[in-house]
Symmetry: C2
Subunit: 247 residues, 2 copies
């Protein structure tokens, strides 16, 4: 089923089922009533990560809350992709941006990784989750990606499922086309590792190369910012082992 | 030759040759002296789009200008890529962002295209060029991409070299993997066309499909923002027909 581009989509925590009436309060109600100025009879889409996507009609519109009724299921629930996005967190707005892009590119787990050159030590997880929800509403996915706590690079590698590849975007790597590194066989939970601005230290690079599941890929001859590298690497991965591969 | 990540790179208009002394003034001098607080003896890299990249040493540092001497050529001049980036311009900061990303992804021509849903009618070309220069300095390229004047979609198609493909990122297109659309044979000057937020109109989509050089590609099942779609499409193109293909 195609995504309906025209209607506003909201993520909510309640169960969704036919004819159910749901009360929407707080910031979401404010948004519908005071920003979008929606009236009774208006339609929105709801999803909760479990029950698919539902068309809902506003049946009561008050200043502080809205009641909607579920009219019919627009799309069935889909399962998660299985793409782990491991990234050195950036500061503030650039982190928001990185998180939004990763959601659009279909990652299932957002795994912050603290490296030598990472400039951020504490991550605001609530802000990261809010960004995930907003991006999920906009890009049409039905399962929210999961934000997990930061790990150091050595913790990440120690805990990695070694049957799955971790594609490491290595600025120093020049020897071959990145597409050749992505093979379809048996890849069920691949990861992409994106370093901080300033890249990985020499020590980290040699450390990474010791692990057989770590596969270095090159993203061409120019210096890419971390967020650009992330979208580029995820595009290649989607088109080879991910859900852009539709043939 | 590898890019030197450590030194500040500046684009300047003067000719670059061995032992040449060059006076740097204005905003660039301000940046070196007052922002980076560089002293005599400090090193930077210079490029002008024609003479390769040069290591330069600051030999005079004054409040309003700097004189540098060219020490040696670090990298030979490279030729342009041949990638035409056709995009519906976005507003202000988001346009800056789109332009920077396109430069990082190695486009040679930035071609704004006005479509039905484009929200911008006048483009600040000077601002666009300033963004191109800044991104070029940061990402290490030696040739500046060229900014050309906006065209309407019909003008673009009427003027297009029909021996070259124009890859059209079509939200409604679902039938196959984007990688299959990129073929290496005889592609010397491909283009990528990215629509505005809100996509192309139905009329525009049918119009585009009439041209045999227009090739629809799909960027997966999620709704991508225009800037995300641009980076993703350019990554796929680089990895198949562009300069990421190194084998």
């Amino acid at each position: 089923m195609r995504i309906n581009y025209k209607l506003k989509r909201l993520f909510i925590r309640q169960t969704l089922a036919l004819n159910e009436e749901i009360k929407i309060e707080g910031a979401q109600a404010f948004y519908l009533v005071h920003v979008l100025r929606m009236k009774e009879g208006a339609e929105i889409l709801l999803f909760n990560g479990q029950d698919g996507e539902w068309l809902a009609k506003l049946i009561v519109v008050k200043k502080k809350f809205v009641i909607v009724q579920l009219i019919h299921q627009e799309r069935l629930q889909t399962t998660h992709s299985n793409l782990i996005y491991c990234f050195a967190p950036l500061k503030n707005a650039r982190l928001d941006y990185m998180v939004q892009k990763a959601v659009e590119m279909g990652v299932s787990i957002l795994q912050p990784v603290i490296t030598h050159h990472t400039q951020v030590s504490r991550i605001n997880m609530a802000r990261m989750e809010a960004n995930v929800i907003e991006a999920s509403e906009q890009c049409g996915i039905l399962s929210l990606p999961k934000c997990v706590s930061a790990l150091s690079l050595s913790e990440l590698l120690a805990r990695w499922d070694e049957t799955q590849p971790l594609f490491f975007c290595d600025e120093e790597h020049t020897s071959h086309n990145p597409l050749h590194s992505f093979k379809k066989d048996k890849v069920t939970m691949p990861g992409v590792l994106i370093g901080p601005e300033g890249g990985f230290s020499e020590e980290e690079r040699s450390f990474l190369k010791k692990y057989p599941f770590v596969i270095s890929i090159s993203l061409g001859p120019r210096i890419l910012r971390a967020d650009t590298a992330a979208v580029a690497a995820l595009a290649l991965l989607n088109a080879t082992v991910g859900d852009w591969f539709m043939d």
